[in-house]
Symmetry: C3
Subunit: 346 residues, 3 copies
């Protein structure tokens, strides 16, 4: 990419102020922009960053009436204008052509839909069914009897263990492992004896699972990720969980076995949820919280062990007053001693 | 799977109450069961769930004398009866046939035992020794000079770096990386210079390592996971750790370098252990605890920094009384002022 | 490895005390050493371990004047002497020979430098450029248009998504995923609609990324890991982060999107950093801390939410005095009651 400020103005329209020959070689958000980047101010609250950003050209709202010596491009809708440049300069997303790569190993009993793309070094075991337009990335492994819906994008190096079910329009990022054994043992003669994990994993429609995340198969029955739920990288979902629809689960979160979540639940990064709990609809679990009890619908939970965020704030405020409390206590002690002396000398 | 309540009663015996034509298409635990599922009550404490479960048929103990309009199957031992149905309806576990897949790349100097199964796209480097009946899953990489015992199950896409030693009856789930370099640097002229990590990883017998977990090689000498220890998904074990026998280490736990644990230690999810510590036999580290000091045998640790759980509870209780404490302090202040006024007016 | 204490003394020089026929079969640090190991005391503070280590032969400083019946080897510089033995007995690191394995799939438009090593089952897509002496490990995937510098070591089973840029002398451990989509959605009609992630990942020179760690591509523009930064296993770096030079980021740390760090920042294990924050040069974030605000240069942060370590210590100390505070409060209450009674009876 190499464009001048003038050329960008020609693409998006708007009024240029500053140096029209300023050269742009990349695009970035206003905080992370480096010299040579084009950036934009999408919200008035970031306007002050116009003075501090390292970007070379900044798209701002005409209405903001910014006073700056920087090279600015004044437009009606900065976000739309920026997106227009991004679309122009960013290469199109990779499309994997339909077809079966000659190196892939596909069982004779597997059934592939129309326009399926099977990339190099893929293994597809007996009884697998893959629907139309789905892409299986290089080096992925699709275990016996698994079924994958239509229009899915399985990135390279994904593992689906046997009998995994995946819906339509699902994206699985590289390194995902679906259907590894649940972590269940019973102690027999001082040793941990494995409890067979003979269930499976079921992923609904429009689900996305981030890189290197893992969802364990059910002990018997299924572990389910429901429609529309999005899971970030390095997340662990334990056996027999039923994750509801349209959940957002951020990186490094760990959900123990048999947890049930409602719809539109949000878990921020590094959250932990103990086993066999129920999390209500639209609950929000803040980052690093450790959930040890059922969470009612709509609750906002914080801390470890997690408590409602109002309680957390109250306790935290009290904590901050703690050193002052000790000082006050010493003062009262002195006042009492003074009073006693006074009384005795009375 | 498709069975009626009547057919299930025929399989396991017992007395049917409710609708014998109720159709069952799956099996599940009582909380996560959906319509169409068969479930069971294994323990009297879950009997109340008989009224709330979404399962279509419930196996309960005859002795529980449950009063319900649900379709129930009354038996002497619900867990055994349920297991009998599960065995009947769940497909048998996948068995990988012995033999070497034609696509695998096996060094001439590697030695393979009897009935070994080498799946597609496996790479086995020079000097590797693999014992009888072991399965190496598709796309796995076994580095130079590694030795794997008998009856092991290495799932697809596992990496063993050079000179890793694995015992007998070990299960490694997909994405496991054994023997990556330990994380050790020394600062030289303001830069981090790598300390060579020339040791190895040694895994004992009957160990299981969960999906995408990592065990780093020793700096020199070994990182060891001892017999019978079970490690969950996404766990990190640092260089030169010696994890004792029959430990249970749950998901997303991170153990820094040179930690030594006794036997039967339990670490719940997302535990962190600082480097060079010793954890005594049978100690239990609760979820999300951050261990910063040696832990004596049998201790139950909680919190970050981790303290014995009795202390944690005491502190937590005091925390909850904190707002009350402040109120009380204000009261005392007032009382002292009153006393002083009274004394002055005396 | 099999050497007697006498043979070791012949290798490193020094004076032998104890049993010269003692057989050594391994090397290890003094705490993790087992019977049969050679170990050493590099620092006087570990001298007491000479009595408790299970090692068979111990190299100690002549100047330490240790009095022990153990088999000791007295030398001027124990660390140097031990390293000499280690170099002698540890096999040399694995070198992957230059050349392209016949099973690898390399796009015609890819450009490979001199002495590049492409291992089995590697996929290299269109437009990739790989510079001299770089090794691409077995089963790795290098996406369209990616560029990798010289002298890099990419271990087996690494994924680089399209347009990733990697500098020189970079090490990527097995399971690393660079350039998976950032985790960004906007809610439309109650569903999470994906925000296109069309940027890329840029890795500087001399960077190391640990096993199964993930660095997401920028939304537009880049996610950058700067020169000399070292990342441990199972770390997540979110989209559009700009990680500065010579950072140390330990295992299981999660950094949300658009975080900017200065140079020489250290994050210990399991740290969490919220999105859009700035961390100043040389700041240290202690293990398990949860950073929720910008961190000034040089700060040492602790706790969740993270506070400067001096404040954390003060609060922690106050916490420990909390039960005492309550007791003291009850005493004062009693004293006031006594005073009042005395005053009333006056």
């Amino acid at each position: 990419m190499q464009l001048t400020a003038r050329e960008i103005a020609d693409i998006v329209g708007g009024t240029l102020s500053g140096n029209p020959a300023e050269v742009v070689t990349g695009v970035a958000g206003i905080r992370e922009a480096q010299e040579g980047d084009l950036t934009f101010v999408g919200s008035p609250k970031y306007l002050s960053a116009v003075q501090t950003t390292r970007a070379s050209v900044i798209i701002v709202a005409r209405s903001a009436a910014v006073d700056s010596t920087r090279t600015l491009l004044l437009v009606d809708d900065p976000t739309a204008a920026f997106s227009k440049v991004v679309e122009r300069v960013i290469p199109p997303p990779i499309r994997f052509k339909p077809g079966i790569h000659e190196t892939s190993q596909i069982a004779l009993t597997a059934e592939l839909g129309k326009h399926v793309s099977i990339q190099p070094f893929v293994v597809i075991e007996d009884g697998v069914i893959i629907s139309d337009n789905t892409v299986i990335g290089a080096g992925s492994y699709i275990g016996h009897g698994s079924r994958i819906g239509a229009d899915c994008l399985i990135y390279p190096r994904v593992t689906l263990r046997e009998r995994t079910i995946v819906g339509n329009r699902v994206t699985l990022h590289s390194g995902v492992v679906l259907g590894a054994d649940g972590f269940g043992y019973e102690v027999v003669d001082g040793k941990h004896r494995k409890i067979p994990q003979v269930g499976f994993v079921e992923i609904g429609d429009d689900v996305e699972v981030g890189a290197n995340s893992t969802v364990d198969r059910g002990r018997f029955g299924k572990t389910r990720i429901s429609n529309g739920t999005k899971i970030d990288n390095l997340v662990q979902v334990g056996h027999n969980c039923v994750i509801g629809e349209h959940n957002i689960i951020c990186a490094l979160t760990g959900i123990a076995g048999s947890v049930i979540t409602g719809h539109h639940v949000t878990m921020a990064g590094q959250v932990g949820v103990a086993g066999h709990l129920t999390i209500g609809d639209k609950a929000i679990i803040m980052a690093q919280a450790g959930v040890t009890k059922d969470v009612p619908a709509g609750a906002i939970m914080l801390g470890a062990p997690a408590v409602p965020h109002t309680q957390f704030k109250r306790t935290n405020a009290a904590m901050n007053r703690l050193p002052g409390l000790a000082t006050k206590l010493r003062e009262l002690e002195q006042q009492i001693a003074d009073l006693r002396a006074k009384l005795d000398s009375h």
